[in-house]
Amino acid sequence: MRDFSLKSTITYKLYRQIILQLEDFLSTIGDIVIYGKEVLSLIFKRELDWKAIIEQCARFGVSSLPITLSIVGMSTVIVAMQVAGEMVKQGAGNYVGMLVTILTVREEGIIMSGFAIISMIGSSIASEIATMRVTEQIDAIKVLKVNPIRYLFVPRVLSGILMMPPVLVVASLVGIIGGGVAAHLASELSYRAYFESVWTGLFIKDINVAILKSIVFGFTIALISCVCGYNAKGGARGVGIATTKAVVWSFVGIVLWDLLFSIIFFF
């Protein structure tokens, strides 16, 4: 027999889904703020476990570097290849290095490193913590009266804060050097002309803003990944959902920060 009750109507189901999604969205934002505050307060109270922090830093730096370097390097190479030929033809060859540098330091380097870190580190943090949640390891930690935020979040978030700037610097350097090689190959622009103009594109303010951004991005990615993993529910499916959520929210998070930074510093 068909069910004609209110709860079976498509409209009801649709609204219910929307309300559930909205609830989940708001509670995720709430959790990010609450846990973010707790993590910062533990960091400021020096509730730190240096062994765990160093372990996480090594993981963050070492495992992310190859992919970060490739992504930042390649995107810079692509830009250099595309603009060098044309600029040399127009007599602006002396500005190729400057252009590539400004672009890398202000935007490409940090946003591409962010994307690389999300895919390498964010997803692995989220799936690791989510697995600990669904296999009751986090419950076990709580029953043993250990604070899971101190044990799990603090080392990961701190490693994000500490490691994102060096990763960014190395990736940007590789990008700028790679850009020079690409420009040389694409347009026979001399290395000398390229690297001399690199200096004219380096501004202290840009570098400071980039470093600040990298700290904020590292914090954001690690925190969102921890929170999404921590709130996982159910079995293997729950781990998958949590990981996807961490990746999507981190992407949106850093793009929003990027926008905010641009408005504050370059508007």
């Binding site: 390891q137 709580k142 029953v143 009266k145 250990v146």
Partner: protein, 239 residues
């Protein structure tokens, strides 16, 4: 005093999972909570150790509470030694109490107690299910708890491993003089470990008594449980 639970009630969403239950476990005593899947047994343990909040009722406990999880819940990124020493190394009030050497000795002693000497450097994934379970026993008792809660400690183990685990449950009770609760639906575990039993069905206590009372099968509930029959007052369709 060990554990006293009075009129405990818990709802998930709008479904009553624990409905006004009361029981008491003294120090040195083992209570078995039995019942079919979904009857609310794990929820009772999680309420007692504070992993979930009760809706109403009273839970009185004395001292430290330890819990042994159904699937051991060992931290898989830590080796056996660090798992057992976890509370000693990470808990705020214990963190600086012991030297590295003292911790090593405590771990050694607890491992010997569960018959697993010398596996300190192995990782949980390298151990069998029964060994993981015994390591999780060692981790639970490292803080000398006054209360030990076991969630289906013998589920999924072969009969010999089960017997071994049952013996350790009794042995830990004798060593620590803790009040213990064993959640199980395995007859062997009930008979070998329990001093008394409560049976849960849909969040209600439907039987209270000793293992001998249970075996007498003189109520419809005990009869159905012991004979594992489909016929009787308990149906599995609610879930």
């Amino acid at each position: 005093m060990g554990i006293e639970v009075k009129n405990l009630t818990k709802k998930f969403d709008n479904k009553t999972v624990i409905n006004d239950i009361s029981f008491k476990v003294e120090s040195g005593e083992i209570l078995a909570i039995v019942g079919f899947s979904g009857s609310g047994k794990s929820t009772v343990l999680k309420l007692i150790c504070g992993l979930i909040e009760k809706d109403s009722g009273i839970i009185e406990t004395s001292g430290d509470i330890a819990m042994v999880f159904q699937y051991s819940a060992l931290i898989d990124s830590l080796n056996v030694e660090d798992n057992i020493a976890f509370a000693l190394k990470e808990r705020k009030d214990l963190r600086k109490k012991y030297t590295e050497r003292q911790i090593k000795n405590i771990v050694k002693e607890k491992l010997a107690l569960v018959g697993l000497s010398g596996i300190e450097n192995k990782y949980p994934s390298e151990l069998s299910g029964g060994m993981q379970k015994r390591v999780s026993f060692a981790r639970a008792i490292v803080t000398s708890p006054n209360i030990i809660l076991y969630d289906e400690p013998t589920a999924g183990l072969d009969p010999v491993s089960s017997t071994l685990i049952e013996d350790y449950i009794v042995r830990l009770k004798e060593e620590t003089h803790a009040a213990s609760i064993v959640v199980t639906h395995q007859m062997s575990t009930i008979m070998r470990t329990a001093d008394k039993i409560i049976m849960l069905y849909n969040g209600n206590v439907v039987f209270t008594g000793t293992p001998q009372d249970l075996m007498r099968q003189d109520t419809p509930y005990t009869k159905q449980f012991v004979t594992a029959s489909l016929e009787g007052p308990m149906t599995m369709l609610q879930n």
